[in-house]
């Protein structure tokens, strides 16, 4: 296996159109900075995220994946994000079994929370990078 240390992590994020994707647009408009390794895939609702997408992302070579949607109770599709929360919780158990729990994250960012979006993804990126540099990742 090639040496992963020193390489910047690649993170795929699934962002819901109504909240997190809007927040990312706002972060862009406000010229906030976050690492280039963070790349978003727009989905209508976080509940559109099939656990298979997350697994596929890891298979394809992503260092980590996040799923982000509206805050619980704020879902544009009424309760889509409750389904997401359950699904991702189950998936996390599986990731844990493969000792890669830190590779999957779920968080809520509303359309107004551009700063929170940037803080969340930057923190995630930095932690993954640290683990990578220390050779702790598989």
């Amino acid at each position: 296996m090639e040496d992963q240390a020193g390489k910047n992590p690649q993170i795929i994020g699934f962002a819901c159109s109504f909240c997190t994707f809007k927040a990312s647009e706002m972060a862009g408009s406000l010229r906030m900075k976050y690492p280039e390794g963070v790349r978003l895939i727009q989905v209508p609702c976080s509940s559109r995220v099939d656990p298979a997408f997350v697994i596929k992302s890891i298979f394809e070579g992503a260092d980590a994946v996040f799923v982000a949607g509206c805050h619980p109770g704020d879902c544009h599709f009424i309760k889509g994000n409750y389904f997401t929360r359950r699904k991702i919780a189950a998936l996390k158990e599986m990731f844990d079994a493969f000792s890669m729990k830190e590779k999957l994250r779920l968080f809520w960012v509303s359309a107004a929370e551009a700063r929170r979006f940037v803080e969340k993804v930057t923190a995630m990126h930095d932690e993954i990078k640290e683990a990578k540099d220390a050779g702790k990742t598989n």
Partner: protein
């Protein structure tokens, strides 16, 4: 398949941190790309013509536009494809401005990211299929929530344009805060007069129903046919409205949140609103000493109100003016951070007030200490950089605007978003300032941020115009991103039926498979990610598209 890729420079916005030539050259070498071009502004008319010419000349059947974020200018590019006789859903927008050039500084890394993002669009576009826009019938009626000056002006406009209007007000009377205002600057009219004129005009109209002392019980449905239950004093009332205007106004800042000013504990400390209602019966000496405090509840990080409330400077000036008019020999001192007299004529009014003898001291007030003979005002003069203490008979707090008390409730009922200060968030601050993220729901007036009366009226009318444009035809087109069932793959396990929030999935007992009721489908895609046999797919976001996007984002370049 012939794909054309058009990369926008957006002037310098993208070009500055993304090497667009390199991106263009990368894609021109890919086998399934027919055209790869860059252009300063693809949204401009010459840019559009260039794309159209290329579509026609090369016979393109997929168009990738790498530019600003997909939600901006989407209709423009859809129309462009229609003009070029292509299905509008064969265009794919890739946001390389908000999601790439603006969020990173490193040219090389940004270029790489842009390539990956566009490649994801390219791979995904291969699975785009021509779709028909869904036509929905629209009820020509509007629900206006809030009967303040902004809601009233919106309701009046809509009603005059022939829309049926339901106006809902929480309080017993229409008019909101404006009704209580006296001698409104600069028209020098009482709020009562302004409101009663508007109310009389509205009540005389036949196509308006006004509900006072009414709350919104529930809210459902989608654009064109929102269904709300109103809790009126005479019982529940169900209504159907094509669109909604939210105009629930603001709450005055509660000055008790700043206990050091002693508001509510000493009668001699009052807000501008109290001053207005008690102006006639003030117990002050013949030569009163009066302090006016600007920015109470505005531009104050400590209490979570970092914004400027925009109206309180003029209010403070009005108070100063009124006192000077009544008591020629009074001593009036205004403590300000900056005087933001921004409306037309405001600066002149400020000068007028100064000439009348109101003193302006740039300073922060630390506390007000009530004593038997007066109020001791302590603070810091920020121009002289020294502390001061002065005695006054009266202190008037020019309070700012806080978000409406019901903003969280309305936001969760209507599924619209609040900003960090708990005012309603617009879809785009410059390009869509009246829209929310939900189609057919508009915001108007101070519930989307502090505004003066003129602005609130304009905002109400503007939202009404936008809504009118949506409802006028009686039908509208919405994106056809709804679920579809592959009948051959469906095993009839009914898991999607259980998951579907909109109850849009029906089980066919004879065929033993499910079908989607198109009108009810909201397009969230939950069924798609629930189905164990990949038999149900969300148009526009099918599994293959997202699968290929994932690959494109991490694959080596």
């Amino acid at each position: 398949m012939k794909t054309g890729i058009f990369i926008c420079h957006c002037g310098h916005n993208i070009k500055h941190t993304v090497d667009v030539k390199k991106v263009r050259d990368y894609f021109s070498k890919l086998p399934n790309v027919t055209v790869s071009m860059d252009y300063p502004f693809v949204c401009s008319e010459p840019g559009q013509d260039m794309i159209r010419e290329n579509i026609e000349k090369e016979g393109l059947d997929r168009v990738i536009i790498a530019s600003c974020t997909p939600s901006l200018h989407q209709d423009l590019f859809k129309d462009l494809l229609k003009k070029a006789e292509l299905n509008p859903f064969l265009v794919r927008r890739v946001g390389i401005r908000e999601h790439c050039s603006w969020v990173g500084d490193d040219l090389e890394k940004n270029t790489e990211k842009a390539i990956r993002l566009i490649r994801a669009g390219l791979y995904s576009a291969a699975h785009h299929v021509p779709l028909e826009e869904k036509r929905v019938d629209v009820t020509k009626s509007a629900l206006v929530i809030g009967g303040g000056v902004s809601g009233l002006s919106a309701a009046l406009f809509l009603s005059k344009m022939g829309m049926y209007v339901y106006l809902v007000e929480k309080e017993e009377r229409l008019g909101g805060h404006v009704r209580t205002l006296k001698d409104i600057w600069p028209i020098r009219q009482d709020g009562e007069d302004v409101i009663s004129q508007m109310e009389a005009e509205l009540r005389a109209r036949e196509n308006v129903e006004v509900f006072t002392s009414t709350a919104i019980g529930s809210f459902e449905g989608s654009f064109g046919n929102y269904e709300a239950v109103l809790d009126t004093p005479t019982g529940e009332r169900k209504i159907t409205a094509g669109g909604v205007i939210v105009a629930i106004g603001f709450s005055p800042f509660d000055a008790r949140m700043k206990p050091e000013l002693c508001y509510g504990r000493d009668e001699r400390v009052m807000t501008t609103i109290d001053f207005e209602s008690r102006a006639g019966s003030l117990a002050v000496p013949d030569k009163p000493r009066i302090a006016i405090l600007h920015c109470v509840g505005s531009r104050d990080e400590q209490i979570g109100k970092p914004y400027c409330s925009r109206v309180c400077c003029i209010n403070a000036l009005r108070v100063g003016n009124a006192i000077k008019d009544k008591y020629k020999d009074s001593y009036v001192e205004s403590f300000y951070m900056d005087v933001r007299a921004h409306p037309r004529g405001g600066e002149e009014f400020f000068e007028d007030t100064q000439e009348k003898g109101v003193l302006f001291t740039r300073g922060n007030i630390a506390e007000i200490i009530p004593g038997p003979d007066g109020l001791l005002v302590r603070g810091e003069d920020t121009l002289l950089a020294e502390p001061f203490e002065r005695e006054f008979d009266l202190a008037v707090l020019s309070i700012g605007m806080s978000p409406p008390v019901d903003s969280t409730l309305i936001a969760s009922l209507l599924k619209i978003t609040l900003d960090k200060d708990k005012f309603f968030l617009e879809a785009h601050i410059k390009l869509r300032p009246f829209d929310t993220a939900v189609k057919g729901i508009f915001i108007s007036g101070t519930c989307s941020g502090p505004k003066d009366m003129e602005e609130a009226i304009n905002h109400g009318r503007a939202s009404a115009v936008k809504l009118f444009g949506f409802l006028n035809l009686g039908y509208a087109f919405v994106d056809p991103f709804i679920a579809m069932v592959d009948m051959k793959r469906c095993s009839g396990c009914r898991m999607c039926e259980k998951a579907c929030v909109a109850k849009a999935i029906k089980y066919d007992e004879v065929k033993r498979i499910v079908r989607v009721e198109e009108a009810a489908c909201m397009g969230c895609g939950l069924c798609n990610s629930t189905c164990p046999s990949s038999a149900i797919g969300l148009k526009g976001y099918v599994d293959m598209m997202i699968d290929d996007e994932i690959g494109a984002l991490v694959e080596a370049i």
